[in-house]
Symmetry: C2
Subunit: 249 residues, 2 copies
C-alpha cells in the first residue's frame, strides 16, 4: 500500500489494463452465476486455521496483494488478484497467474488501499455478500482503516463479514442474524457515528431501541445465549465482533 501526492479529494482511480486471457468471458460467466458470496483475502498476518473453518466452499476469491498467499495456504484458488503487488513474492504471483487468475495491477502511488481495490472488485462482480479473510496483524493503522472500510457506506448494499485473526466481525445495518456458541463473547461497536434503535435477540444483555455512541464501551462484552442471535440497527452502523477463543491478535 502506498499513497499518492494529493491536495484534495481523489477524483478518479487509475485503472490498470487487465492481464490474463479470457477475462471478459469469465466475468460474464461469473455474472451469469449470480455471485452470492465473494471471499476477499487481505494482506497482513495469516489467520489461524481454526478461523478458516466454515468458510463457504466454491466461492469466488479476490485477493488483495499478499492476501493471495493466504488464499493459497488456505487451499483456495484465486480468481482475481488486485493491488500494487508490492508485498507479493514472485513465486506466489507466478502460481496465481498460472492457475488462471485475473491480475489487476495498480500503481504503488494510489489513493486506495489494496483492500479497498479488492472490495471494489467484489462489488463489480455483483457480490451480494463479502467475507474478508485476514487484514489483521502488522500495522495498527491498516487494521483500523480496514475495519472502517468494511463498514463504509460504499458497501452498504452488501452483507459484509470478516475473519480477522481469531476474531469474527459482522457489519450490521438493518438486521443481521449472527452465529455464535452460547457463552461466546460478542461486542457491539458503533462505527462512523452513533448507532440508534439498537435491538438484540439471543444476547445475555439485551438492548431495546438503545443508542450506542462512538467511544462508549457499553456494548463491549455481551454474550451469545442463543444461536443464531440477531442484532437490529435503525440508524447508523455497528460492527459486531466475536473476539474468538485465542487471546492474541
Amino acid at each position: 500500500m502506498a499513497s499518492s501526492p494529493r491536495s484534495g479529494p481523489p477524483t478518479r482511480r487509475w485503472r490498470s489494463p487487465t492481464i490474463g486471457a479470457g477475462w471478459r468471458e469469465r466475468e460474464r460467466g461469473w455474472r451469469r452465476m449470480s455471485v452470492a458470496r465473494v471471499l476477499v483475502f487481505a494482506g497482513g498476518d495469516p489467520n489461524p486455521p481454526e478461523a478458516l473453518a466454515g468458510l463457504p466452499p466454491g466461492t469466488l476469491v479476490v485477493a488483495a496483494d499478499s492476501g493471495a498467499a493466504h488464499a493459497l495456504a488456505a487451499g483456495r484458488r484465486v480468481d482475481v488478484l488486485v493491488g500494487d503487488l508490492d508485498s507479493l513474492d514472485e513465486a506466489t504471483l507466478a502460481e496465481v497467474v498460472a492457475a488462471g487468475a485475473e491480475v489487476r495491477r495498480h500503481p504503488a502511488a494510489k489513493d486506495a488501499t489494496d483492500l479497498a481495490l479488492a472490495l471494489d472488485v467484489a462489488l463489480e462482480l455483483g457480490a451480494e455478500a463479502v467475507t474478508m479473510v485476514g487484514g489483521h496483524g502488522g500495522r495498527l493503522d491498516h487494521l483500523l482503516a480496514n475495519v472502517a472500510l468494511l463498514a463504509a457506506d460504499a458497501y452498504a448494499g452488501v452483507e459484509v463479514d470478516a475473519r480477522l485473526g481469531p476474531a469474527r466481525l459482522s457489519v450490521v445495518r438493518g438486521r443481521r442474524s449472527l452465529v455464535g456458541r452460547p457463552g461466546e463473547l460478542l461486542s457491539l461497536l458503533p462505527v462512523g457515528g452513533p448507532a440508534g434503535g439498537v435491538t438484540t435477540e439471543g444476547l445475555l444483555f439485551p438492548l431495546r431501541d438503545a443508542t450506542l455512541r462512538p467511544g462508549t464501551t457499553w456494548g463491549v462484552s455481551n454474550q451469545f445465549t442463543d444461536e443464531p442471535a440477531a442484532v437490529q440497527v435503525a440508524e447508523g452502523v455497528l460492527v459486531a465482533v466475536a473476539p474468538g477463543e485465542r487471546g492474541s491478535l
Copy 2:
C-alpha cells in the same frame, strides 16, 4: 472487563469506596501539583521496550487492572489502580498496594471498561494530557473499543496520546504537533464521523482543508517529512497513527 444486565443507557456508574490510607490528602497534593500529564497503563499485551522510550518521567500513573503489571515492568510506580481486578494476579496487587497505590475496585458487572474507568480517574485528577500505554493485543473488540474511547468527546478537553504495541496514536482535535522521523509512516483516520477542514504541515502528501470520511483509506500511509509535523482539524476528530518499526501488533 465484564458487562452488566442492561436494557437502556446506563444512568450512573457504581462507585467503590476507595481503599488505602491518605487518599484525600494525596489527591489534594496532586491537585496542587497541577497535574500536567497522566500515564494510563491499560491491560492487554505489554508494549515492546522501545515503545516505552521517551515516556515522560515523574508522571502520575493510573493503571487499569492488569495494566498495573505493565507499569511495574516498565519501572513505574502505580499511583491509582482501578478496575474490577479480575485479570490482575495477587502478587502484583499486593506489590502495588504495598507501594502505596490507591485502589478503586469496581464490580465485574459494570457498564464501563477498565480503561474507561482509568481515563475517568485521570480526568478527576485534573489531567491536561493523557498518554495511554498498552491496550493492544488480545481481543480485537477491546482494541477497537479502546481506540474509539480515546477519541470520545468525554476527553475532548485533554490532549490524548497512546502507545499501542509498536504504534503511537494521537487524537487530533483542533491542532496537534506530532513528532516523527522523516520518512516515518503516519496515517490519518477519522473517528466517529467525517473530519473536515483537515490541513497538514510537514507531511509528504499535504492536505489542505480536506474532508476525510469514515471508511475512506485516503489518509493511510502518509509520511513525516519534517519534525515536528502538524495536523489541524476544523470539524470532527482524527486519530493520527504512526504504526512503528515493527511489523506486528
